[in-house]
Amino acid sequence: MEDEVSLTLSPAPGPSARGRGPTTPVIPSYEGRPMSLPLHTRTLAAVGALTLALGLSACSSSPAAGEQQSTATATPEQTESATPLVVYSGRDEGLVAPLIEKFEAASGVDVEVRYGGTTELAAQLLEEGDRTPAHVFLSQDAGALGALADAGLFVTLPGSITSAVAPQYTSTDGTWVGVTGRARVVAYDSQQLTADEVPTDLAELTDPRWRSQVAIAPTNASFQTFVTALRETAGEQAAQAWLEGLVANDVQVFEKNGAILEAVDAGTVQLGLINHYYWAGHEQDPTTLRAQLAFGAPGTVDALVNVTGAGILAGGTQHPAATELLAYLVGDEAQTYFVEETHEYPLVEGVGSPAHVPPLAELGGPDLDLARLASLEQTVALLTQVGLV
């Protein structure tokens, strides 16, 4: 009876302090995180630690192009202290890397290659000036070489190198040497066009008949050199008119020549302006391709034969193996490689000619001094003005 527990069971004491009721329901679900990490976070942490270990090991070793192959065939002459030869290559990695590897194997020199667009690398070299880390510049075309030579970025090459190549395919002042030749061609869709329908004079490409059916790569050095040649032979006005005509005709812009060839082969466009070796060196037998080549009329600028080349940079440090590399490139082994693997025209005698295309002597390029192709900057300005870049 005197048990207090059951009795004074009054609710919240006093009228002024009555129950407040439930608090406002704003309770985020993440409060009160437990002190130990939840399971999936532990898994994440483990994965993170693993990748960290992997990454740090990757950072400590610096991968270089061609190195993984050369370790297998390392020659005893390979010295530990040799700095690598740095090459800026405007030529595609797929085309040039195997050759570089061969050079590395043969000479024992460590080569690091930076791949990029020819014009891009030329611009970079111009900007880098004396501070450039590069030793050798491999160019896809003569225009960039000329521009750099005019800017005084190259050293004069020894006569043994420059004389290995026919004089019309190399520099006149010995600052750079031509390595291979390439013809400007028109790839056409053989399913939609016959060989006769393909215009031989590229001025016809501004005709409404070819609206949206022409493909070019205006950021690519080969096309830019072609435009330079056009400016030199036909004059500034004509070149500008032609480019404007192309733009008005809804010309299709691609980044690379290989992509243009694929597009023609797929029938996306009917005509594409590329270099011959993309077709000649195709994985499939080129004669079975849907895309076929039409060469320009001999003697006209449409049959321009451009050259790839190399030069040794004057700025920065000089590398003893630079000359060796250039000599190798104009040597028989490299030239044979170019003929057989990349299907370009060799510039030295007695190495043969690529299959499926007319030999170099028959192409009949215009009578044009390659040195005049050095006005690359104006060409780019023109392309910018016209709106293709």
């Binding site: 994440l44 990454g55 950072c59 891009e120 950021t219 694929e262």
Partner: protein, 514 residues
């Protein structure tokens, strides 16, 4: 080193503030350098570039893509979020997880796969489709979180007032989550504006494409600089807008314990919803992978250079991890100030760090090439500059994740620890760090993965001889060598896409999207 201050004080110590300000200044370097360079080119030249028709064309294209992708993502993302949270679907736990999937896939891989199937695909329409598919999770995830945690009270009240389900959805429920959805849409627009890989693959000239074209195909870097400035200006507008809208979304957010029950819908609607969800979430990832595997198996053995692929993987991971560690460490002071400092300067600092989102990768790359050459020639073409680029690009993300993690650290245990006699360092190590660690680690991992997928800045800044998976893939794509490119794309999917997806899901789970 940074000095953690005691809990309860609302002002950051001077040292921490100075370090945070230094980090933000570092992130501002590319933009500042870019502006100086552009100004140095002369007013006439700059105006000449700005006023030429091609620039206007490309600007219009960029803005159109951004607007269309923003709008498209808004519609698609909101619809997806609605179906996932409000309708009763089979396998309910699967859909929020799948919704995050497309975000992990790089847009250029998606575009590349499409082009591998149909080489003729090009132009604005396919670009918008690709980007909408890739970016709509940016709308879906926050909208779904907002829907799931929205107060069901107003919707119920509206129904008692005579409104049917459709009217309630349109007039009450959607407006409530509109700020979250809108913030996501603005972010999607920003991504679309800054994207380089997809427009270049699909050959649609935009400002990012223009910058690259000017850099690659021209000797005049000034053109590229001016275009970059235009790009950054557009991006800045979007970033500021997104920040304002997101702040409004945060203000309106009220997290409820009781969530709205999913509604059973007509079986036809359900089937349509499931199909639609699969198309939007799984197809953008599964289909490209299938196409890539197909191409990779078709390619001749000569193209499949496994050591090179592995090399790429190692380089990619190495850069990713290094960047993640550096970015996270640098982000911590900024995040700490933003999370704890009661005065507005904490927010201002975070906003300043956030603004670097307006600078696309390609512009950062361009700017840092020139910067490292002129100002830091010793570091030219080294990984350090590349890591710096990643810092600039991903600092906002790391700051956001770290700040969120720090904000969630309850102050109670910290204060108790201090009252028990633990010094500031010990409190930091024992309480703050332990609570914040999962969130910070998740943010760091996400940075690592996003760095692995980064393309334009890496293309421009990578040291000679270093190729990441993204740059190798890019090189082969430009040659239209799909067979050769496929292994790199697949490796990229394995290295970056799957972990990114797993992480986004884990993070979303933490945020409460079930």
């Amino acid at each position: 080193m940074r000095q953690p201050w005691g809990p309860g004080t609302a002002r950051a110590p001077g040292a921490l503030l100075a370090v945070a300000a230094g980090v933000v200044a570092l992130a501002a370097v590319p933009v500042v350098h870019l502006l100086l360079r552009t100004a140095g080119g002369g007013v006439d030249r700059t105006l000449g570039v700005l006023l030429r028709p091609r620039t206007a064309e490309m600007t219009l294209a960029s803005l159109s893509v951004a607007a269309l992708v923003g709008a498209g993502s808004l519609v698609l993302g909101t619809a997806t979020a609605w179906a996932v949270t409000r309708w009763r679907l089979p396998l309910p736990r699967l859909w929020p997880v799948l919704a995050a999937l497309p975000l992990a896939m790089p847009s250029y891989v998606l575009a590349f796969a499409w082009r591998a199937v149909d080489p003729a695909v090009a132009g604005m329409a396919p670009l918008v489709v690709v980007l909408v598919l890739a970016c709509s999770p940016l709308v879906t995830l926050p909208t779904a979180a907002a829907l799931r945690h929205a107060d069901p009270g107003p919707a119920e009240a509206a129904r008692t007032l005579g409104a049917g389900r459709l009217r309630v959805a349109l007039t009450v429920e959607l407006p409530a989550v509109a700020p979250a959805a809108l913030a996501g849409a603005l972010l999607a627009a920003l991504y679309a504006l800054s994207d380089f890989g997809a427009p270049a693959t699909l050959r649609q000239p935009t400002l990012t494409w223009g910058v690259r074209a000017a850099y690659e195909g021209g000797l005049d870097r000034h053109l590229a600089s001016v275009l970059s400035v235009v790009l950054v200006a557009c991006g800045a507008v979007l970033v500021v807008a997104e920040r304002l809208v997101r702040r409004r979304a945060g203000r309106r957010a009220r997290w409820q314990v009781r969530a709205a029950e999913p509604v059973t819908v007509h079986p036809l609607t359900r089937a349509a919803a499931v199909t639609g969800l699969l198309v939007v979430t799984a197809v953008p990832v599964v289909l490209p992978v299938a196409v890539l595997v197909h191409r990779a198996t078709l390619a001749r053995t000569r193209s499949l250079d496994v050591p090179r692929v592995l090399e790429g993987v190692v380089a990619t991971l190495g850069l990713g991890v290094t960047a993640a560690v550096v970015v996270t460490i640098l982000a911590y002071p900024v995040a700490a100030v933003a999370a704890r400092d009661a005065r507005p300067r904490g927010r201002h600092l975070e906003s300043a760090a956030y603004l670097s989102q307006a600078v696309p990768g390609i512009v950062v790359g361009l700017s840092l090439v020139s910067f490292s050459l002129t100002v830091l020639p010793g570091l030219y073409q080294s990984s350090a500059v590349l890591v710096l680029a990643y810092v600039v690009l991903f600092l906002p993300r790391a700051v956001g994740a770290t700040r969120a993690a720090l904000a969630r650290v309850p102050e109670g245990p910290e204060q108790v620890a201090r009252s028990l006699g633990h010094g500031p360092w010990r409190t930091w190590a024992g309480v703050t760090a332990r609570h914040a660690a999962p969130g910070v680690a998740a943010g760091a991992l996400l940075v690592a993965i996003t760095v692995s997928k980064e393309l334009p800045a890496t293309l421009m800044l990578r040291p000679t001889g270093v190729e990441t998976l993204a740059t190798s893939l890019w090189g082969h794509t430009a040659n239209a060598a799909y067979g050769a490119a496929a292994p790199y794309a697949l490796a990229l999917v394995l290295v970056a896409v799957l972990p990114a997806w797993a992480l986004t899901v884990a993070t979303a789970r933490k945020e409460g999207v079930r």
